[in-house]
Structure formats: C-alpha cells, structure tokens
Amino acid sequence: MIQIIKLNGRDFPWEAGMTVEDIMNKKNFIFPKIIVKINNQHIEVEDYPTTIVNDGDNVQMIHLLAGG
C-alpha cells in the first residue's frame, strides 16, 4: 500500500528512506530560492541530501517568488 505524506498541503506518495533532496528531484523543484520545513522546522540546504522524511511528516517547500 502506498503511504501518503503532505507536501505543501497536498498528498504526496512516501517511500521509506526518502530524503528532502529525493522529493525535490521527484518534483523537479529547481527554483533556487526555496524554504524547506518539516513539521514547521527549517531544514538547511546542506542538509537536504541527508534529512530523512518520515511517514506522516508535514513537508513544506515554499518557493520564494511572489507578487512579481
């Protein structure tokens, strides 16, 4: 059965061992100014490859371009 986590408030399929970087690659999130938070805790850029996302986590990847 596919597990689902929340990514920016929407369902996203989760796999055991998945990192922040894995999610960004799957979503093709290549914009250079993204804020990443897991359960409201900030994740630094250098930690993307090693930060594991757990089942049930609330992940936010906020792209900072708004208003123009």
Partner: protein, 718 residues
C-alpha cells in the same frame, strides 16, 4: 551622415529659457509642459495635493493624463499626452534600482491609460535638469526633436528632417551631437521609438544610457501598450536631456545616512548571495527560462503548453557561456549592484537593413526569450537575439510581438490563415525567418507584418470578418485582454494568476501580481478569500514602486539570508523596511506598510475610474481568454491528461472512465470558468468595488479619493 550635416537640416521652432531651480526632498515642485501643436513650453507647479494623493511617477502621469484629455479622447488625438515621471526617490545612487521612470499615455492597443516603467538615464537626468515630470501634448506638423539642456536651462523644439529614425542609429547620432566630448556622453539620454512604431500599434519607447566601457549607446524599454506609436504619431523623433554633475545627494534628502546604510546592506547582500540565488548579475531576468519550463509555466506555441525539452537551448547557461558579456557592471542607473541589464556584444546580424553589421543587443530579458522564442516554437538563441535587436531599434514591444506572432502561427498551423493571406510567409511554429520578416515589414509599413502589428485584438476581428474564422475559437486562443497581449507565463493551473492577469487595470501584464508559486506550487492561498487578499496586497505593493521611481527586482529577485525565519517571507520584510527607510531618507515621510498600500490604492482606484471614464473598467472588461484558464484543444488536454483527469475526479467527483476528451474538456471548462467568476467576486469585494467592478463611494471616501471628478464618473454605477 555627419553631425554637421544633420544640424544644417534643423529648423528652430521655439526656444524656452528657465531658472534651473532646486531639488528638495526628492521633488523639484514643478513639471515641464510641452505642446508641440503650438510650440508652447511652460512650467507647471507640482502641488501639495498632487504629492499627497499621487506621490509621483505613475501617479503624476495619470493625474496629468486625466486633466489633459476628455472621456472621448482617442490615442491619436492631439490632446492625448505622453507623460514621463520618475518619482521622488528616482535618481538616488545608493540603493539598487533607483533610476526608474514611468511613462503614461492613452494606449493605441487598449484605448485606456497605459503605464510602462523603464530604466535608463532619462528620468533621473530630467529631474536633475529641474523637472519632476515631462508632459507632452499636441502633434507636430513635421518630425521634431526636443532638447532639454539641464545645465544651461534651455529647451528647444527643432524640426529634424535628416536624423535617422531607428533607435540604435538615432541615439548614437544625438549622443554624439549633444555631448561635448567622449566623457560627456554619459550625461546625455535620449528617448526614441523607431520605424516599426510608425506602423505598428505595439510601438515602444527606448530610453538610452551611454555605456562608457563598451562606448556604445544602450537602451531600456518602456515596452507595453504602444506608447512608441503615440510618440511617432505626434511626429516626435526624439527627446534629449543633458545634465552633467550627477552625484548622490542631488535629491537633497532629509537623511542621507539612512539611505547609505540601507544601500550598503543591499550591496553586500547582492555580492554575497546573487551567485547562489538568481544570478541576476550574470544573466539578468533570463535566469528563469528553464525554471519556468520545469514548472510547466513557460509559454510554448501560443501558450498551448508550459514546457519544452529544448528550453535548455535558450536557457541561462547557453546565454552566459556564448553570448552575454560577463564581468561588467550592467546597471541601468548608477549604483545598481543588481546590474541585470546584460548585453550580447559584437553580435552579427543575419537579416534586414543592418545585415552584416555587428551590434550590441540589450538583453534578452526573460519575457523576450519566452515571447519571441519558446512561445513561437523558436529555441535558437541567435534567432532570439536578432529579433530582440530589431524589436528594439524599430521600436516594437517584444512581448506584444511575441504573443501576437505566436497567435498568427497557431492560426496558420490550423489553417485559419494561409500563405495567400500572409503574403507568402510560411508562419509555422519555429520559423525564425518568417517571424523576423514580420518585423521588417512593420518597419517598412507593408505586408502582413502591418496586420500583426495591430495586435491580437484587431487581428481577431479581421480574421473572423474577412476570412471567416470562428470568432469564439479566436477569443479562446487569442491571448489578449483589454487589447493588450499577455506577458509570458502560462496561468492555466493557477487561478490566482488568472486573476493576476485578468484583474489588472492596464491589461494582462505580470507587473501587478505574479502569484503562481504561492498558489499553484506552495498552496499558500487555497481559498477565494486568500487569493483575493493576495490580489489586493501584491498589486498595491507593486504599484508603489511605480510611484517612487523604483525597480521591483531588488525587492524579491534577491532575498536576505534570514528571510526564511520571518513571519511573511514571501513579502521579504527586510527589503520592505529598506524601502521605508529610503523613502524617509529622501522625503522625510515616515510610512509603514499600511501607508504604502494606501498610497498605491489611491492611484490604483484613480486608474480604475479613469478606465470607466473611457468606457471600460467594468466586469465585462475583466473577462479572459480560455487559453489562460485551461486547455482549449483536444491536444492540449491530452498532453496533460493525467493532471486534468485527476482534477476532475478529485475536485468534482467526476468519473472520467469511458468519457471522451471532448466530454471531459467541457466539464473542466465549466468548472474553471465558474471558479474565475467566483474569484472576481472575492477580489472586487476585497478591493472595495461593487459586483460590476466599480469602486464604491465608501471606499473612495475612506481613501480620501472622493474627488468630485471621480465621484461624477462612478456615482450612477453604484
């Protein structure tokens, strides 16, 4: 032709001498009025009421335009005006992006006011020459050049029959003519249009800056809405200003130290972070081409699609490594450390009257690359640079040209028009030769190029009335609204951005609100009320830059390191505080963020009522083409079938099994059109407008904008 010969052809029509005056807190407190029908030049006072209610920049431009025109004024009537105004902060040299001016006129594309912001040296030098704004009215009998000598206090209007018309030649001639020597050239700035602007409604204005390192005259463009067409219709070849003695405190600010402090902080930020963020200093706004493609937002083949595997061929790395000169400070006004005005130097032209010449091409900006490139199915950087150059020198807006060419390419591909109609041009997607030939035809005033130069709004009428095209289909695929072509982002998957384009005052230009990431990717504004709040705040915030003479890019195309820990990172609070400090430093006004929005809201509502005065500005005028909302054709739907099928199931509970594409498209369309109407209701309510889009008397009173001239327009529409 040498300069002396050009001068011999001149005939002086009038000369006006003035006291040089003095700047105080960002204002000269007067504006320059020039009527070229009567060869009359005069000084007008800038009143405290103007400063309180309209601030400057676009605010002053709209105010003068309202007073100079009537409810029946058309774009080519003599009373239509062109107003250039920088705003009180314009001209400081300590903070990035502080040399902008705003240009206003009644647009040939939309027949309502257009405002277009532009860099280059003209706006600041005009202010230092003693004028907060230049208000140009009337029509000359023959081609003229207006010259403002800001050191001697002399203004002349001369007939000028021999000078070139295309911008890159004319600006060189005039810079050479009016500068005392090579070092003096940086003190001259020229406003020009071009031969294309004589025939195409999408004409633009070029504002020059002399590049002392490259030793070439360069341009920034007031591109949108056809102001260049108005300029040439008035038979103005150029407006020249000269002022020597630029220094950092000429605005006579109240607190220089606070401006310096904000500027130094920004320069450090730019130095430390830009290479890790947007690389604006290396490639300018073109950094985002591949990014937009990755997020399915890059317009491809008339906005049918949002990405293409060849986007990388026109992406930033190709431009940096092969075309754009690196390592030079490319600001369009002194002190801009963002320096995003890139150029391709020694670029050899392959077509047209300047074929074989090596030129400097300003750009390409993102909008140009996407508009004349991907949106037309062209993924060759040389082709994009060539079109970019000719658009600029002919005085043609790359956005309207790109979007209009994409439209005719789709019409051609679908058999709506053919070679008999195009005069033999094979206007299939990807055909650079046909695209650039349209431009050359606009310059020469002949062929199908002249038709394309009228813009999509006019072409839809011609194609349906003369060639039997289905007007409903043309409405769906013709990416214009209010008469103005869309700028270069796909908005199908962002309802907020559909409003960001559709609920603008001047037409679908992204400089009011770009909300796609907040909405589509971040999911930060899920409800109608959330979207309405964003479509209230951001357009007002963006309007504010245009009141003061500021560039938007240093606000959020670089973000400070601690930004992510702030409560509203999307608004870049530290930069907003910088702006409040800079405005205080120059003018002595202590503003907070609420004040900023209210300053803009006064002008924004004034512009809305200006539209109503001219017969638009109501709900019916905010209708958008379906291509901006969803898939018009079967192939568009099927190219993203998984997405659309998923939405039908998840959002509407619609069972897609066994349904034809046409059936699914119809259900999706009904849903999306309904969503847009609900969005309009929410946005109008938040902005204080009634359900027909008319500002209420209560809101006008609250804003202090219940001026009798405005109340007269809206009182019967409440």
């Amino acid at each position: 032709m040498d300069i002396n010969t050009l001068k011999e052809g001149r005939k002086l029509l009038t000369e006006y001498k003035y006291e040089l005056g003095k700047l105080d807190k960002g204002y000269t407190d007067r504006s320059l009025y020039i009527n070229i029908s009567e060869n009359k030049i005069d000084s007008k006072p800038v009143t405290q009421m103007m400063k309180d209610k309209f601030v400057g920049g676009k605010g002053f431009g709209l105010w003068y335009l309202w007073n100079g025109t009537t409810p029946t004024t058309k774009w080519n009537d003599p009373e239509n005006e062109i107003i250039i105004c920088g705003g009180p902060v314009c001209g400081i040299t300590q903070y990035p992006g502080s040399g902008k001016s705003l240009v206003c006129s009644i647009s040939p594309m939309t027949n309502i006011p257009i405002d277009s912001n532009v860099g280059g040296y003209f706006g600041p030098l005009l202010k230092f020459a003693g004028w907060d704004a230049l208000e140009l009215q009337g029509k000359a009998e023959k081609d003229i050049i207006i010259y403002i000598d800001g050191n001697k206090g002399v203004i002349t209007i001369e007939e000028a029959p021999l000078e070139a018309i295309d911008s890159h030649v004319l600006a060189e001639q005039l810079t050479e003519m009016y500068a005392d020597n090579e070092a003096d050239k940086r003190n001259v700035s020229v406003v020009t249009a071009g031969t294309g602007a004589e025939h195409a409604k999408m004409g633009l204005l070029n504002f020059s800056l002399y590049d002392t390192r490259r030793k070439v005259t360069r341009f920034k463009q007031a591109g949108r809405g056809g102001i260049g067409r108005v300029f040439r219709d008035k038979k103005v070849k150029a407006i020249v200003v000269k002022f020597s003695g630029v220094k950092g405190n000429l605005n006579n600010p109240v607190d220089q130290a606070i401006i310096n402090k904000a500027g130094i902080k920004m320069h450090k930020e730019m130095h430390n972070l830009d290479d890790k963020q947007n690389r604006m200093r290396k490639v300018g706004t073109g950094y985002s081409v591949e990014i937009m493609s990755a997020y399915d937002l890059l317009p491809v083949m008339n906005y049918q699609y949002g990405g293409h595997e060849d986007a990388k061929k026109i992406g930033p790395d190709i431009l940096i490594n092969n075309y754009l000169t690196q390592g030079l400070e490319d600001g369009c006004w002194y002190g801009c450390s963002m320096a995003c005005a890139k150029t391709a130097d020694n670029f050899e032209l392959q077509t047209g009257p300047y074929k074989g010449q090596r030129v400097t091409v300003d750009g390409p900006e993102y909008e140009t690359t996407a508009g004349v490139g991907s949106n037309c199915g062209i993924f060759d950087p040389r082709a994009i640079l060539e079109i970019n150059f000719y658009c600029d020198t002919y005085g043609i807006d790359t956005i309207s040209f790109g979007t209009s060419t994409a439209f005719v390419m789709e019409c051609y591909t679908r058999g709506i028009i053919n070679k008999e109609i195009t005069g033999g041009l094979d206007l299939k997607f990807g055909n650079f030769e046909a695209s650039v030939e349209l431009l050359h035809q606009m310059s020469r005033g002949e062929g199908f190029g002249v038709v394309v130069g009228q813009g999509i709004h006019q072409m839809k009428k011609i194609f349906s009335e003369e060639y039997g095209a289905d007007p409903d289909f043309l409405f769906d695929i013709g990416m214009e609204q209010k008469g103005l072509e869309y700028s270069e982002y796909g908005s199908k998957e962002s309802l907020a951005q559909q409003g960001g384009f559709g609920l603008t005052n001047k037409g679908p230009q992204h400089d009011e609100a770009w909300l796609i990431f907040m909405d589509m990717v971040n999911n930060q504004i899920p409800t109608f009320e959330d979207k309405a709040e964003a479509l209230y705040y951001f357009p007002m915030f963006r309007t504010w830059f245009g009141l003061y003479g500021l560039c938007k890019l240093p606000w959020n195309d670089i973000v400070p390191e601690g930004n992510k820990y702030t409560s509203e990172p999307a608004k870049i609070p530290e930069h907003v505080q910088n702006y409040l400090d800079v405005v205080y430093g120059v003018t002595g006004k202590r503003l907070n963020t609420t004040d900023m929005v209210r300053e803009s809201e006064r002008v924004y509502n004034f512009q809305r009522i200006f539209n109503i005065r001219l017969g638009k500005g109501l709900r019916a005028n905010d209708r958008v083409p379906y291509r901006s909302m969803g898939p018009v054709t079967k192939e568009e739907y099927e190219s993203r079938q998984e997405r659309y099928d998923g939405q039908l199931k998840e959002i509407l509970g619609y069972d897609t099994e066994g349904k034809s594409t046409e059936e699914k498209m119809a259900v999706l369309r009904k849903h999306r059109e309904n969503q847009y109407e609900k969005l309009i209701d929410a946005v109008y309510a938040r902005r204080g407008w009634n359900s027909n889009g008319v500002p209420t008397l209560e809101r006008l009173k609250d804003l202090g904008m219940d001026l009798p001239i405005l109340v007269d327009v809206v009182k019967d529409l409440q």
